[in-house]
Amino acid sequence: MKKLLIVDDSNIIRSKIARCLGKYGLEIAGMASNGQEALAQFKATRCDLVTMDLTMPHMDGIECIRALREIDAHVRILVVSALADKATAILALKEGAQGFLCKPFTESDLTEAIGELISDDDND
C-alpha cells in the first residue's frame, strides 16, 4: 500500500483529501499544515506520495517541494492549489512536482490526478 503525506493549511481540505484517498486505497501516513511540518513528517514517514498546497504560512509549497527533492529524488508530488495561472503550474513542475490539480476539485478530479501519478510511477 502506498503511503501518502497530505500538506495543506486548511483542515477541511486535509480532511477531504484523506477521506477521498483513504477510500482509494492509500495509507494516510501524515498530514501537515505548512512546509516545515511537512519536511519533519516526511523524514519520519518516508511517504511515496505527497499532495502539496502552495500558499501556506511559514514555508510555502514551492520551497517545500525543493526541500523534499533534496531529501528524496523519487517521491511523487501532486500540487493541489487554488493558484490557477499557467506560470505557477509550470514553476511547480519545474521544481519537481509531477502533477497539478486546481482547487476547487471534486473527488473524481483528485482520484484521477493521483491515479495518473501512481501509474507514471509504476511505469518508471
Partner: protein, 148 residues
C-alpha cells in the same frame, strides 16, 4: 476594477458553488460599497492582494451556508473552527483562481478569518470596494473586491 474584471470574480463564485455543491449561486447586481458599511456575515475570509494589483478580496457568509457546504462535501465536523476554515478556504480559492485572468503577479496572502457580524471590515476610502451579493439555498452572502 473594470466591469469585465468584476465578471471574472462573478464567474469564479458561480463555478465554485456549482462544482462543490451542484447548485448555482444566484448572483445579485454588483454595487459600489460604502467603505463604512460593508457587508459582513458570521464568517469572513480576507485575502490581501499585492504585486501587480493591490488591495483585498473578502468572502463573507452566514454559519448555516458554510455548514451546509461542509455537509454536502461529506465533512461531518461542522465545528466553528471548520466553518472559519471554510470561509478562509473559499476566499483563498476565489482569489487564487483569479490569477488565471490576472496573471501570476496577482499575489495573494494566506487568508485571515474574521468571526462575528459585530466586526467590521475597514478598507481605504481611496480604493473602491465592489460588493457582489449572492444567494445560495435561500441564504445571502457576498464577495467584496477592493483592488487597484
Amino acid at each position: 476594477m473594470t466591469e469585465a474584471e468584476l465578471r471574472i470574480f462573478i464567474g469564479i463564485v458561480q463555478h465554485y458553488f456549482e462544482q462543490q455543491t451542484g447548485r448555482l449561486a444566484e448572483m445579485g447586481t454588483p454595487f459600489l460599497g460604502d467603505p463604512n458599511a460593508l457587508p459582513i456575515f458570521d464568517f469572513t475570509g480576507v485575502i490581501g492582494i499585492s504585486g501587480n494589483r493591490r488591495g483585498c478580496v473578502y468572502f463573507t457568509a452566514p454559519s448555516e451556508m458554510l455548514r451546509q457546504i461542509l455537509v454536502h462535501g461529506g465533512e461531518s465536523d461542522v465545528s466553528r473552527e471548520n466553518l472559519a476554515d471554510l470561509a478562509g478556504e473559499i476566499s483563498n480559492t476565489i482569489s487564487g483562481n483569479a490569477r488565471r485572468a490576472f496573471g501570476h503577479e496577482f499575489m495573494i496572502s494566506v487568508p485571515i478569518v474574521v468571526t462575528g457580524r459585530e466586526q467590521s471590515i475597514s478598507l481605504p476610502e481611496s480604493v473602491k470596494a465592489y460588493v457582489m451579493p449572492f444567494r445560495w439555498r435561500e441564504q445571502d452572502a457576498a464577495l467584496v473586491v477592493s483592488v487597484v
